[in-house]
Amino acid sequence: MALLEIILVIFLVFSALMAVRFDEELISIIFLSIFSLVLTALYLLHKAADVALAEAVIGAGLNTAIFMSAISQIRHGDSD
């Protein structure tokens, strides 16, 4: 139990770090989605089932779709 939580937390921080670090938006968004998914698992471990469901549906599902639809419409300038 405790070990699982530690692994998940490390993974959480890792995915957040990657989401911030990568310059390409697509990778960042995928890492953000993973971040939400890990967060969902952590919420479940902390016995917050409602919040876990909301985070899974909104954070990992809807937010990702909205982010994707946003970056698909963005034109990049000459250089990035």
Partner: protein, 111 residues
């Protein structure tokens, strides 16, 4: 405590992405991470080792986790999602005018 540390690392990471990154999408991601850090802290702090706060019929549970912070967090998550959508909409519109999402290259944002 362990959870405080994680909260502060994530919060500062999000804040860093919000303030220092010049990519506007990254700023939104930073904001999302910031909010998620706060919500995670709330949930982990209110976890006192009880059950999921749902009664089981015919059983009397010994100890529940506090339902109020969870309710507040739920509200916060939904508001966060709608603000993220609004922000991204504005970024799309801004991109149509300026052709970039780099904060430094959009005049008027680089201060």
């Amino acid at each position: 405590m362990f959870n405080n540390l994680i909260f502060i690392i994530l919060f500062m990471l999000g804040f860093y992405a919000l303030v220092m990154k010049t990519n506007l999408i990254k700023n939104v991601i930073g904001l999302n991470i910031m909010e998620a850090a706060v919500f995670f802290w709330v949930i982990s702090f209110s976890d006192i080792g009880g059950e999921v706060s749902i009664h089981k019929l015919g059983e009397k549970a010994a100890k529940f986790n506090d339902p109020v912070p969870q309710a507040l967090t739920l509200t916060g998550i939904v508001i966060g999602a709608s603000t993220a959508a609004l922000l991204l909409t504005l970024i799309i519109e801004l991109n149509k005018f300026s052709g970039t999402i780099d904060r430094d290259k959009i005049e008027g944002l680089n201060d």
